[in-house]
């Protein structure tokens, strides 16, 4: 009996442990917003009400517009932090009103001035980035004892303190209006970096901080901010670095890898080789890169079977890799529909095309043929434009009609993303890079779209003003301004009938070389202006005839002119013959 009771008690305790362990564990975890709560205010209410024991609220990546107040009714020790410093953007203010031992970390503050307003209480503002314009204020201290450590302040007034004791340590002030304005600075202003602003305090660093980029405040190798702060770095136990990525609370997540691209894909029969490249992460603590792949787009990238191993592949500290053993893949669809090509937008020597999306397509090709291009080459050209729905077809000849079509295609592909990890912990990983793909295997071509015929042309602007670098041509001079109807007609004639053939282009080049000088003479001589207008009348009449008279009427007029000419010649011949007979 007692044995049975003992067994029952043991079982009951086991069940209790199984049930309670996750609850105990969750009590030490952070509250996620959104996730556990929709808003920060709701999470703070839950903490304030004493319903939960968590003290840390993590705001997800993205832009936050919620105004947040940390009031005195909160229990001590609340931590409010972003998920990732560079990618948790706070565009509203956080106000501290009496709360005790709080910490605000891992945010990039923009827009709202001030980003953090400390009215009262004790708070640590650590490992944030404040980006502001001149005239704005990043952080104000009204009546409190904050510790401001390991932040980066860019632009604006960094800290406006009014009669309080402030500890300012291990921060970087970059091109700010000033670093600390006003206030009784009784405690430490020490081990800060100043670039583009007057330096203050002890142990200051004033040389180029060597950040990774304009928007990436990780430190490069050789930065004077490395090991120049106060305290220790959480990641390696060394003296703290200055800036947002140093000190005991530092965000250790590496930045997203940029510029991943597939440089080439080689087909070797049944298999393929692809070369990938990306921009190296210049953070001095970058340890290496991890390559993920799959034969379908999007996470989770659980690809298998290539020579280098299954996804993910730890490729080490390199910025390119050649992958082999990528097998040919069949496209997901067996048949594609035709896209619908809409009427292009004309531009100077270009046409802007756009078309409807086709389900299952992995790319599109533009097919075009000139009616009569510069080299009398009427061949159809095809351009693979990738997976886009708009394309500017450039390098065309103004005034020439182009026959345009679009087709969709589908092809199997390997999809790749890359992450980086730091030297001190390979388990910590940045977010996925943007995706790159390597097409492999046979391609399914869809049918051609509807055909659209259109021509590029030079765009006229209003007002039609003369250009000091060109346009000083005779017609412009004679008619007074560039936008005159006659001048526009002659330009259109040039584009349509002269620039489309070699002799015409040679004439235009010769004319452009010599006409500015003649145009000046014409412009300055009223009599010459009138004479030139009369001389240009036949050319303008011809241009108007070619552009505005319907083709059928043009044909009739030309036929009549031919008949008149033949009649005239016949009359002259008959008169000549009659004269010869008379003489004989």
């Amino acid at each position: 009996m007692s044995g049975s009771l003992h067994r029952r008690l043991s079982f009951f305790l086991f069940i209790l442990l199984v049930v309670l362990f996750p609850a105990v564990q969750s009590a030490t975890a952070a509250l996620r917003v959104p996730g556990d709560y929709r808003t920060v205010a709701a999470a703070l209410d839950a903490i304030q009400g004493g319903l939960i024991s968590e003290r840390e609220i993590v705001l997800g990546r993205g832009t936050w517009n919620e105004a947040i107040t940390l009031s005195s009714s909160l229990p001590p020790g609340v931590i409010l932090r972003g998920e990732e410093t560079a990618r948790t953007i706070m565009s509203s203010s956080i106000t501290v009103a009496g709360a005790i031992n709080e910490r605000i970390s891992y945010f990039t503050f923009t827009s709202s001035s001030p980003g953090v307003n400390i009215e009262s209480g004790t708070v640590t503002v650590a490992n944030n980035i404040f980006r502001y314009d001149t005239g704005s204020t990043a952080l104000t201290v009204v009546s409190a004892q904050p510790t401001i450590t390991n932040n980066v302040f860019v632009g604006g007034t960094a800290i406006a303190a009014a009669g309080n004791v402030v500890a300012v340590e291990s921060n970087a002030f970059i091109n700010t209006d000033n670093s600390v304005r006003d206030g009784e600075l009784g405690t430490s202003i020490s081990n800060n970096a100043f670039f583009g602003v007057d330096a203050i305090g002890e142990n200051r660093v004033t040389s180029d901080p060597l950040f990774v980029g304009n928007n990436d405040f990780h430190l490069r190798a050789g930065s004077p901010l490395i090991d120049a702060g106060i305290g220790t770095d959480i990641f390696d136990g060394s003296t703290a670095d200055i800036g947002a990525y140093g000190g005991e609370f530092s965000d250790v997540i590496p930045q997203v890898v940029q510029d991943l691209s597939v440089v080439s894909v080689q087909n070797d029969g049944q298999e393929n080789t692809a070369e990938l490249r990306w921009s190296p992460n210049l953070w001095y603590l970058t340890g290496g890169y991890r390559l993920y792949y799959d034969t379908e787009a999007g996470a989770p990238y659980g690809g298998t079977g290539i020579d280098q191993g299954n996804s993910p592949i730890d490729v080490g500290d390199v910025s390119s890799i050649t992958l082999s053993g990528l097998r040919n893949l069949d496209p997901d669809v067996a048949q594609l529909a035709a896209p619908e090509l809409v009427r292009p937008q004309p531009q100077n020597t270009a046409l802007v095309l756009s078309w409807s999306a086709v389900t299952g397509a992995t790319g599109y090709a533009v097919h075009y043929r000139a009616d009569n291009d510069a080299d009398n080459d009427n061949e159809e050209h095809t351009v693979d434009v990738g997976n886009v729905l708009s394309y500017t077809l450039s390098g065309l000849v103004n005034g020439v009609d182009y026959h345009l079509r679009v087709s969709a295609y589908a092809q199997g592909a390997y999809y790749f993303v890359v992450t980086s990890y730091p030297q001190f912990d390979t388990a910590v990983e940045g977010e996925f890079s943007s995706e790159a793909l390597a097409p492999v295997g046979p391609r399914v071509e869809g049918p051609l779209s509807n055909e659209v015929v259109d021509f590029p042309e030079a765009i006229e602007v209003f007002p039609g003003l003369p250009d000091k670098h060109g346009g000083c041509f005779i017609a412009t001079a004679a008619y007074g301004f560039y936008g005159a109807d006659e001048v526009r007609l002659l330009r259109r004639f040039r584009d349509h009938y002269l620039l489309t053939n070699a002799p015409g282009r040679a004439f235009v080049a010769w004319y452009y070389e010599h006409s500015p000088h003649w145009a000046k003479t014409v412009r300055d001589t009223p009599l010459l202006k009138s004479l030139v207008r009369v001389a240009l009348m036949p050319a303008i009449a011809l241009a108007a005839f070619l552009f505005y008279v319907p083709a059928a009427v043009q044909g009739i007029v030309l036929l009549l002119a031919l008949l008149l000419w033949v009649g005239y010649v016949a009359c002259r011949l008959r008169a000549a013959l009659a004269s010869m007979e008379k003489t004989a």
Partner: protein, 206 residues
Amino acid sequence: MNRRVLALLLSLAACANALADDVPRWAFEIKGGVQRSAMAQWREFYDDNRMPIYAFGIGYKPWRPLEIGIDTAYLQDRGHGFAPGHGEAAGNVRYRLIPVHLSLTARAVFDEDQWLVPYAGIALGRYAYRMDISGQNGISGATNGERYRIGLQLLLDHIEPSAAEGMQTYGIDNTYFFLEYQESKAKIAGSDLGGKAWLGGLLLEF
């Protein structure tokens, strides 16, 4: 000859110094507003007839009511062009105009504590323009023009005396807020780059 020129310059300097004891000699103004184009067709290509105008200038007062100055402005508008062969709007166009004027302005100041000061002025200028067109070469050039303006300035020193005293420590004698109406003409190739503008701004006299 050189002695005469030197004597003339010294006389002018002495005159200017004498003026400096009593009245402000220099004026700086900064203003902004809206200009309505003189061309009715403008709205067909730039959505409406208005474009923002920002300007500043500096003037010298050889005589208290009279001011000789130089000023410049910046105007910009964005719109579209025209494809003549298609008979439709096409392309993106950015228009910018920077006039520089030499001006003569008369201000009806009878007392240094006068609240309201009406003024009027004329100016001759050079108008530099530039038009950027998507996908093709831009157009730039310049032409001459003229401008007339009238306005009313309000002395702010009475509204905020402590601030006025603070400004005087920096050598600024009077601060005015003003509203101004301008008309300008700058004709070139059948077009008029001028228009009617309404502006507001601050005038500092020192």
